[in-house]
């Protein structure tokens, strides 16, 4: 091993390396490391934000789902209620119609009865009148001559029992 002027290389290496180190530190390592660090930070932040957004999205989705379910349940309830209401209304209407109908029928019956009664009464009056007229006419005809009058009186007198 032939060492040629080792002190020279130690000397130059020291000087060159130290100068090189400080120059490179300034022009390269500092900017590179800072830039890389900043970029990593920003990437990490972006990733964290994305994760956050994803979670929020999931929450939102869950919320939506819940709201949708609620709405669906509400709709179902409303439908059910409506159906019940409809049934009720129909039933009520039916009942009412029934009562109304029976009432009308009753009234009609009453009216008919009344009319009937009136008619009967009227008829009775008319019959009486007609009978009276007939009787008048008959009596008139019966009493048209004296003989017949006498006969009648006789018959009447016959009927009358004097007591």
């Amino acid at each position: 091993m032939n060492l040629i002027a080792p002190e020279s290389l130690v000397f130059w290496t020291t000087i060159i390396f130290v100068v090189f180190f400080f120059i490179l530190k300034k022009v390269a390592w500092k900017p590179i490391l800072t830039a890389v660090k900043n970029r990593e930070d920003s990437i990490n932040n972006a990733l964290a934000a994305a994760e956050e957004a994803r979670k929020e999205m999931a929450n939102l989705k869950a919320d939506n789902e819940r709201i949708l379910n609620e709405a669906r349940a509400e709709r179902d309830a409303m439908l059910k209620e409506a159906r019940e209401m409809k049934d009720n209304m129909i039933n009520e209407a039916k009942e009412q119609a029934q009562t109304e109908a029976s009432k009308l029928i009753e009234q009609a019956q009453v009216a008919i009865q009344n009319e009937k009664n009136a008619a009967i009464a009227d008829l009775k009056g008319q019959v009486a009148e007609i009978s009276l007229e007939i009787a008048e006419k008959v009596v008139k005809s019966e009493l048209s001559d004296d003989k017949k009058q006498l006969e009648l009186v006789n018959s009447l007198v016959k009927d009358v029992t004097l007591n």
Binding site: M1, N2, L3, I4, A5, P6, E7, S8, L9, V10, F11, W12, T13, T14, I16, F17, F20, F21, I23, L24, K25, V27, A28, W29, K30, P31, I32, L33, T34, A35, V36, R39
Partner: protein, 389 residues
């Protein structure tokens, strides 16, 4: 069709690679011959024996000039400044002056193959001599055989050589790598200032690497609270080592240096990690070293162990990077050397194929060792700043 194209490309590449290396070796052989021509009066013309270890050492060692190619027996090199702190103060000149210098007067039998490098330059009344690539005071090494100067102790013997702050081939290559990295990362940095959206172009290419260093090296080892302070250092060494590993794999000018496979370089980086670890060490770290959590009689044993441990960690960093990269270069060069050991060009395709294979492996190693160095630096820093335990 695509596969066929690819394999043809690979083949051509391997051929080019082996041819260029063969060319440079032939030229070197020629060189050596020439130099012996000039001095060898008896002019024995026998072929010089090829010495692979010398060849490899030549290629993985640092140098004062940047050898580009050989042309017509002459080396074409980029001269680099030589900066010496001598007994008489600062001396500077271009490395090309060694090429014009005079040869030392020596008996021919004493010359080695590398002696064509042994030239003397005179400045400020002092003579400097290039021996085995190192610069010595010429008059102080006159009596020493070049091989003796190769041992580690004499590499640091500043009686025989001046303090040398030359801008060597490796330093040149390092400046190149730094400029290259600056151009890339300044552009990336600018693009981040302008573009707040997803990164585009080169920034998009570099960002995963930066994030890799942050998320797989810094944060797991230092902790999410404290890593930020050390990121610039970790990023810098990661890219700095990686790019220099890659530059070392490209086998032509202005690349081909063996910077990260150089002990002085890895020592400096490991030492910087050591300094950062020590200066950022908190109460727990120092407490662990100077008051280990063991019964106090054991401190006699434990404290020295812990203190040694402080140094072995960066030492391991230094050796690991150096050994891995140097080994890669040595293997590739050994494969090329096979051609000259067998003295046939027919081994070239085999060597070339293995060199290609090794180069791909070295591409992996280049990234891996940059990663390991950064990872272990982060680990040591993490241990030093750890709060609990």
């Amino acid at each position: 069709m695509i596969i066929a194209k690819k394999s043809i490309k690979t083949f051509i590449l391997s051929m080019l690679l082996s041819v260029s290396l063969v060319g440079s070796l032939f030229a070197q052989g020629h060189h050596g011959e020439e130099s012996s021509h000039g001095h060898d009066q008896s002019s024995h013309h026998e072929e010089e024996a090829f010495n692979p270890s010398e060849f490899i050492n030549d290629h993985i060692a640092d140098a004062h000039e940047f050898h580009i190619a050989d042309w017509g027996g002459h080396a074409i090199s980029l001269p680099l400044p030589v900066i010496l702190w001598t007994e008489k103060g600062l001396v500077t000149f271009m490395s090309s002056e060694f090429g014009h210098g005079a040869y030392r007067d020596k008996k021919a039998s004493e010359f080695t193959r590398t002696d064509h490098h042994r030239k003397i330059v005179e400045k400020n009344g002092m003579k400097f001599e290039l021996v085995n690539g190192n610069i010595y005071y010429a008059d102080k090494v006159a009596e020493i055989h070049p091989e003796e100067l190769k041992d580690l102790a004499s590499a640091f013997d500043f009686n025989v050589r001046p303090l040398n702050f030359s801008l060597t081939k490796n330093a040149f290559s390092m400046i190149l790598s730094v400029i290259f990295l600056y151009l890339i990362f300044a552009k990336v940095g600018r693009s981040y200032k302008k573009n707040k959206m997803a990164p585009k172009g080169i920034a998009g290419l570099m960002e995963p690497l930066v994030i890799f260093v942050r998320d797989d090296i810094a944060i797991p080892n230092i902790g999410a609270k404290k890593y930020a302070k050390f990121m610039p250092y970790l990023l810098t060494i990661f890219f700095f080592i990686w790019i220099n590993n890659l530059i070392g794999l490209i086998p032509f000018f202005p690349f081909s240096s063996n910077l990260t496979g150089n002990l002085a370089f890895t020592f400096t980086l490991a030492f910087i990690t050591f300094l950062i670890t020590s200066f950022n060490g908190n109460k727990n770290y120092w407490g662990h070293i100077f008051a280990p959590p063991v019964p106090w009689p054991l401190w006699i044993l434990m404290i020295p162990v812990e203190i040694i441990g402080m140094f072995t960690k960066p030492f391991a960093l230094m050796i690991r990077l150096f050994a891995n990269i140097a080994a890669g270069h040595i293997i590739i060069l050994s494969l090329v050397a096979l051609i000259f050991i067998f003295k046939t060009v027919f081994i070239a395709p085999v060597s070339g194929a293995f060199v290609i294979f090794m180069s791909f492996l070295e591409l992996l190693v280049a990234a891996l060792q940059a990663y390991v160095f950064t990872l272990l630096s982060a680990l040591f820093i993490g241990q030093a700043v750890d709060d609990h335990h």
